[in-house]
């Protein structure tokens, strides 16, 4: 187990040490509902959550190494309290968004720590966190970080950009050489999963008197995020159904999956305005970006090219294909159902 100071815990509050820290400080949860001195922590926790529901990443005001211990403590408390608030609200949609936002925040810190050529202890800590959480052995050599090829493959296999193919990496002596940002990018998804599981597994405390209003507010925010549309999935092929299900659950559909879904529905004659709400529940939803991208795919903006739905073959290599007998003899999802006798 890592021995962590408040500096580290403020950056990585999801590590084991944080809960222990709270216990050592001796605050009972109930005190947060009543103690006016702790009101600022409650506000911070609420703010932290709210930013995440909007797809943003909470920016703390403490600058590395320059904050007071009190400021750092507040930072750690606000994270722990945010989890308590999520549990009290009972809204699952908040978990996903909060975990994603916190993962991105931690990612920024890890990247900075790994990139600190002058501070070996910071680098060592980041390396140890990556090892403790994800069992990847990272070693540092010159300006690069080296990780075993097999670990690289396990973690990069779902990345679709060509630069992540092993053939486009420096490989020597059984190791892949990566820059700090790529090293951290490799574990982004796992970091999110790790934080999600921490929240999911945390016990739900009884309602804390004094926090009812905040909790109610969060519940209604969570409800608003849950999509109210209904989609008739009857005639859609399994790949499209699967993508819609993922989005409905508020889970992250990879870029390739969103591309498939959007191009499929556009080809079926749906309009950009009809399709856009589907993505409302995506953890990183941004209405402006979604509309821009949909218009681009539809050919109503940009180069004017209308993008077509990828072939079954392509979807197979992207792990988006979940064939059923009715898929026999089709080579594109758009053909699904057409050939039926």
């Amino acid at each position: 187990m890592l021995e962590l100071g408040t500096d580290e815990l403020a950056k990585y509050p999801f590590l084991e040490g944080a809960g222990k820290f709270l216990k050592e400080k001796g605050f009972p949860l109930s005190q947060f509902g009543t103690d006016p001195d702790l009101k600022s922590v409650v506000d911070k926790a609420y703010h932290r959550l709210k930013v995440s529901t909007k797809g943003g990443v909470y920016k703390s005001e403490i600058v590395d190494g320059e904050a007071s211990d009190t400021a750092r403590e507040k930072e750690i408390f606000s994270f722990l309290l945010a989890i308590v608030l999520i549990k009290l609200s009972g809204m699952h949609t908040l978990v996903k968004r909060f975990a994603l936002a916190e993962a991105r925040r931690a990612e920024n810190h890890l990247e900075k720590d790994l990139g600190k050529a002058s501070d070996k202890s910071k680098i060592d800590l980041a390396i140890r966190i990556i090892y403790d959480l994800f069992h990847i052995e990272v070693t540092k050599e010159d300006e690069f970080f080296k990780i075993p090829v097999s670990d690289y493959l396990k973690h990069s296999i779902d990345f679709h950009e060509r630069e992540w193919k092993l053939v486009n990496r420096y490989v020597e002596n059984g190791k892949v050489l990566l820059t700090p940002d790529k090293t951290v990018r490799l574990i982004r998804k796992e970091l999110g999963t790790y934080i999600t599981s921490k929240i999911t597994n945390a016990p739900t405390p009884p309602m804390i008197p004094g926090l009812e209003n905040i909790v109610n507010e969060l519940t209604s925010i969570g409800k608003a995020l849950t999509p109210s549309y209904t989609i008739t999935t009857g005639e859609y092929p399994p790949c499209i159904k699967h993508a819609i299900e993922i989005l409905e659950k508020g889970e992250n559909l990879p870029h390739s999956g969103r591309f498939m879904l959007a191009t499929f529905l556009l080809s079926k004659g749906q309009t950009v305005q009809q399709i856009a709400p589907l993505f409302k529940n995506a953890p990183d939803y941004n209405p402006r970006v979604t509309l821009y991208q949909l218009n681009h795919l539809a050919g109503t903006s940009g180069s004017g090219t209308q993008y077509s739905c990828p072939s079954c073959e392509k979807l197979k290599t992207q792990s988006l294909c979940f064939p059923i007998p009715a898929c026999d003899n089709i080579i594109n999802p758009l053909q699904f159902g057409r050939k039926k006798k």
């Binding site: 075993p148 493959l153 990069s156 296999i157 053939v167 486009n168 420096y170």
Partner: protein, 373 residues
Amino acid sequence: MKESDLLFLEDSFKKYYFNHFDLIKVPERTSEREFGYQKFNSGMTRHISIKDDKELHLILMQNIPSDVYCSNAYYTFPSLQMNEKDWKEADLIFDIDAKDLNLPCREGHTVSICNECNEVSKTLTQCSKCNSSKLEKKSVPCKNCIDASKIEVEKLSQVLIDDFAITKENIQVYFSGNEGFHVYVYNSQFQEIGSRERSELTDYISLRGAIPETFGMRKLKQDRAALPDFDEKGWRGRFSKQVFGSKSKRSKIITELLSNGYSSFQKTLDDVSENIGVKIDPNVTMDIHRIFRLPGSINSKSGLTKIQCDDLAKFDPYTEASFLSDDTVEVIANCPIEFKLKNKKFGPYLNEKTTLPTFAAVYMICKKLARIA
């Protein structure tokens, strides 16, 4: 295949198995492997678990299989159905086959058998007798094919050793029993990786899917210094040696590459990977549930044995992997091309009766180029 041909093949295979138990050994961690076999003119029997050499030899004698296989994977319950086996790990395997190398010599030693009228000829596009295009192609021994395959094995070993830190002792090379090689890698960091990861590994080894940026070429803001150096490791180093030829030419060629632009660079890269990428069959490597031909067993496509090559450079499969007897047999042979086996010349035969040693008769019957008279 005719009954008399089957009986002859079975009899020859049986003698081989009986006389060469020394060559047919179960691999290490036997009880964790899945075995399988095929009998002549029959389907595959798999999901078999075997405990030692004796049990294997018994199966061979009882069933006289045409082909014998063993998994490169290790399972808790190898004899259960696939989804219940409990996959643990798998050795890394590679298949290099001369027919995948696009060699110019192929045409000269390939004959076609018409599926409609059984005509055997040297024309490879349509039957010279009935014009049917349903042709089965059979290739006869060719030294050039073996030499070219060996080069691929060498290239593969080099990548495995230099880039993936595999030790020489953990690489074993086998002649496949027909016209290629099987390479096994043991105890590597890749034992536990899955199918998609193995597929990525094959793309790396074949230099498939490489982008110009990897070799320092950008669409915008070109930078000479980003292009690979002669003594760099990995594909950048091998790319340099291939494209620049010598250190002194590097500067001039880089100027050319940069001025030709990004898409031209991608084309150069594709051409280069055709040359220096290792030509392995990706489907074999990415299959983690495969049963792979067992070393020491006979390949029924040829009657030759899959055997380990201790000295690859000197290895000659057409003398060293042919273990069947010299006893003669009368056959009707139909093979318009001459070939050599065990240093003896055979053919051409134009649908004629001839007397052949067993090893050559089996070879030709396996290739459908002869039948027992």
